[in-house]
Symmetry: D2
Subunit: 347 residues, 4 copies
Amino acid sequence: MKAVVKTGSHKGFIYKEVAKPSPGPNEMLIKVHATAICGTDISYYEWNQSAIDFTSKFNVKFPFVAGHEFSGEVIELGSNVKSFKIGDRVAAETHIPCGECFQCKNGNSHNCMNMGIFGINCDGCFSEYTILPESIAFKLPENISFEEGALLEPAGVAMRAVEEADVQPGETALVFGCGAIGLFAVKLLLASGVSKVLAVDIDQYRVDMAKRFGAIAINSLEDDLDALVKKVCEKRGGVDIILEMTGSPKVYETLFDYLRLEGKVVTVGHPGGEISINITKNINLKGAKIKGLFGRRIWNTWYNLSSLLESDKVKLLDVVTHRFSLSQFEEAFEQVSKDSGKVMFII
Amino acid sequence: MKAVVKTGSHKGFIYKEVAKPSPGPNEMLIKVHATAICGTDISYYEWNQSAIDFTSKFNVKFPFVAGHEFSGEVIELGSNVKSFKIGDRVAAETHIPCGECFQCKNGNSHNCMNMGIFGINCDGCFSEYTILPESIAFKLPENISFEEGALLEPAGVAMRAVEEADVQPGETALVFGCGAIGLFAVKLLLASGVSKVLAVDIDQYRVDMAKRFGAIAINSLEDDLDALVKKVCEKRGGVDIILEMTGSPKVYETLFDYLRLEGKVVTVGHPGGEISINITKNINLKGAKIKGLFGRRIWNTWYNLSSLLESDKVKLLDVVTHRFSLSQFEEAFEQVSKDSGKVMFII
Amino acid sequence: MKAVVKTGSHKGFIYKEVAKPSPGPNEMLIKVHATAICGTDISYYEWNQSAIDFTSKFNVKFPFVAGHEFSGEVIELGSNVKSFKIGDRVAAETHIPCGECFQCKNGNSHNCMNMGIFGINCDGCFSEYTILPESIAFKLPENISFEEGALLEPAGVAMRAVEEADVQPGETALVFGCGAIGLFAVKLLLASGVSKVLAVDIDQYRVDMAKRFGAIAINSLEDDLDALVKKVCEKRGGVDIILEMTGSPKVYETLFDYLRLEGKVVTVGHPGGEISINITKNINLKGAKIKGLFGRRIWNTWYNLSSLLESDKVKLLDVVTHRFSLSQFEEAFEQVSKDSGKVMFII
Amino acid sequence: MKAVVKTGSHKGFIYKEVAKPSPGPNEMLIKVHATAICGTDISYYEWNQSAIDFTSKFNVKFPFVAGHEFSGEVIELGSNVKSFKIGDRVAAETHIPCGECFQCKNGNSHNCMNMGIFGINCDGCFSEYTILPESIAFKLPENISFEEGALLEPAGVAMRAVEEADVQPGETALVFGCGAIGLFAVKLLLASGVSKVLAVDIDQYRVDMAKRFGAIAINSLEDDLDALVKKVCEKRGGVDIILEMTGSPKVYETLFDYLRLEGKVVTVGHPGGEISINITKNINLKGAKIKGLFGRRIWNTWYNLSSLLESDKVKLLDVVTHRFSLSQFEEAFEQVSKDSGKVMFII
């Protein structure tokens, strides 16, 4: 079968023929239908510091098939698989929990102490077929398409951010970063009772998308965020909820200024280095609550998100702006750094 | 001034001239603009058991001006009033907290141990003017009209029910009763991330209103609620959230059958007598969580609700179906028992 | 091997020789060391309505070995068992989750939609050996003895009740029923920040045990609970937390009178029939929060409880008042209805 | 009357005669009985950066009587005072809320948007008498002594830290800093269900106090905290709860290494400058939850703490190591930097 492969610790992927895999007893063979490009894939494509850190932290071995956001159809079952059958349409969680550690046994399997990462320390889904452990497979509801299904994983990050923000209906929110996850967050916040969602980016294409999805969005290179927050959230003295989805150190320079006293911050973006924070002023006297995010709640986030989609309260597909075939992978990765929302492979 | 007065422990109100009142040091004189009829007003109009119970519990003295859901304009200030000025547009909380008891000092002033009730144990607002303690006045945001402002109190009950239900985005809800508060609840649940809201009543006019507001609504005299819940909530094994807004013993006969395991119930309707509950089956083995409701969180509920209105996420005015002048009070109270949503006096 | 067996739908157990079982692929053979008598065992011994209801609800088949609270040693491993080894000391959860349903996949496997019950719809532990599914085995920390280990399951019910009560340090609590679970609750509440624990029973032997464990305990046949609550909780207007552990309809006649406004009730005892509740007065106007309980959180409750034991913050063994051999089972079951705390078999 | 006065923006206090004050309508005159030295008092005594920052942030005017942790007796009532009478024994909240802002009206009056600070931007309590606004007075329960009463404010900071940590019974905690608030925290954590409390300081006198109060305490200059955490919290992969009570940048270099995945951090100590944090590793991938602290919940924290004291679950007085008269203020402030717990003035 054809696959996009990471062959070693250097820039680039290779599109090549690899052996079609066979499922082990607790695994399934999946015909991949749609798969999307994530920031982690870009890191591996470019082989930047983040990829180097991940490779070391998760003990990654080369070569491996890249990609982890996808949906597809079950075409072969391992001998122990019980909850799925051939023909089932599935998406997949990326975090592979061990099921045995303290975290797994206490409701935090998304942050397992012995976690595997699908598409990082095992083969992923930028390929015609992929092997999926039953433990991370999620059966797609009937009225969710393959393309939408492939967005459940990344939109699940935004969903979890909304869950951790513990929205009180009527609160206001500010989203830093209008990449795909930021855009999903805008939609999900608006669907979850937030009265006004502010959104910020430095890319006008993305700012325009956020506006289209209902945010009060600005390009912070051109417009004054401070004035906007003061105007919109005057009574509350700042926004109630901030979702940080850029990982940019620059954002942290002013982030807490926009937060109201006793407000909530969820950090999703992964900064490359250390961030300087004035704990006294910005956390203690502010009374801030901060939650760091890694992954989706297994399976709460998946059920909640898919229920919102099933009932048509939220639409995800208009975040997708470009679709490619696998063989066009170079073009696809170039597109990501230009005007784009989510970029997908249709297989 | 003209007022609708409850003169004693018998059926009916009287529309009559009464002295225009003067505010004490911590009070304000308000020109009433809009005021709505609540179930409690109906109880006092009809002088039913619920009115008798309230009269005894809250030490009510006759005569008193009826009514407590309203909005108006500040036209005179008591000497100690600090936070309001003449011309301010206001609505009012009905629960008058003492500010000194354990409940008030621990964030539960809505359920004060020495609570007064506006329009029950002091004069209310079915009149041209009313006296409002500063402590229960809420300043209306600019873009909320007087009519909408008069709905904040009853819609606040629905809002608090939604708050207590602790909605996880994507959950399903079932509302028993499509009176005004049930209708407000339908709107607020849908705005707060609930994926599907089922609603039930035995009055087709109200069922139709609930449908218009986005609920999957049925007339339980004609349609099969059991089948509907099974179909809509099959995967979850029942609805996640039930709001009981009828007070009908009949509802309790099957209410818990529709709740999923570990689901949440908020009881708002006040049954007249005792209700029989199978605790083992319906609460323990079910793992149910039940919260009884009395009043709005002061002032969280008010801020949250008015933020939803200000941002146009929720509209309340289409719940109002009839408007009368004060002198038409008999007609208004008759209308309440016919096809109607919320019934209002415009003054 | 010898076992205490329930042979059919009638009173009594039989002590007899049965075949020593062999573990399936996901099971382990356990040498039972200590096992305790639970209320459910008594129901089955006496064959009362509760046993009849359980038998129908959980599709129980006769004959089966009774008993489910125990600890023992792993002596044989099924072929798929991964997390345990021969010689491991274990206790066991009684609720056998399917792992696949909505409840299991959303953090509520204790209330699985397809739940099996160890010792009810499969053989239990009143025997020399028992078969334990790996999925419900809990490895005992080194400094927890077999006898203490056998108490983790019943004490886990009390622990979960404390967890669900969401104790704020300094709050007061009232425990109805000083049977073993009530006594465990007294100890756990006192260890979890409750300032004063009131406890009530009608059996003086148990009242005296509760006193010894630190409760302000009274025999409600002789002493005035109303006066006690008024005195101890005067400022708060009632107790903050009530744990109902009797299942007695009589308790419900006054239970809510002792609860402060906005207080919390956890119901653990299973009443035989319907209970009459004045929802308006006792739940709505009271602002009560009620949580029904079934089982322990898997595995949070187990980890939390065993951490309390490991650090010696709580001792469980002094709740055990009588120890028997399996062959003395009739004597043991007689003892339960006399002066006793927890009654155990040492095997 | 005699008072310890801060006269200007320079080092030191002056002990001098000042006019005995008279209460305004909403104030009371208090005879001070016991008052304790807080870190803020030391900052003002030494006139360090923290004092300069506070002076600017809270618009402080000189001269003012220093001190804010105290208890005393009501000896004169302002004309509007309703909830207190002459002879009442009181302690006082330091944060003076406006009662009108969004924070005050939404349950966060401890972090009022227009906050006054008792003893900072009005006269404090290092004096024979002091003026206390009724709104921040707390009536002492009968069995709490004046000395204990004067500790409610600082112990309230530790109490609030414990409240914000949202302790699950059985969890483990690590306290950085064994000053008075750290020592109170050790006691309160142990009383609130924490199974094991680790505590760290670089002052052996304080480490020994923490040990005496039940902590597993070490001097981090001499002992290996890393090894200790690994040993005590091996199963959980780190501690569940960290309370940062030093404000030391050095502590932040390793703080997150001791936290288990999805653990909780409450920051209480106020670092002087910026702190560098690796957000990706220490907050995001760790799944950390961080809450910044400023003040006590008004009045929840006060009620909860005083209930723990009233029931003798926690003793505070053994944290006090030195007692002085007001005239010995120089000696007292010198003692604070030597071997000491809490240092008090008895008046």
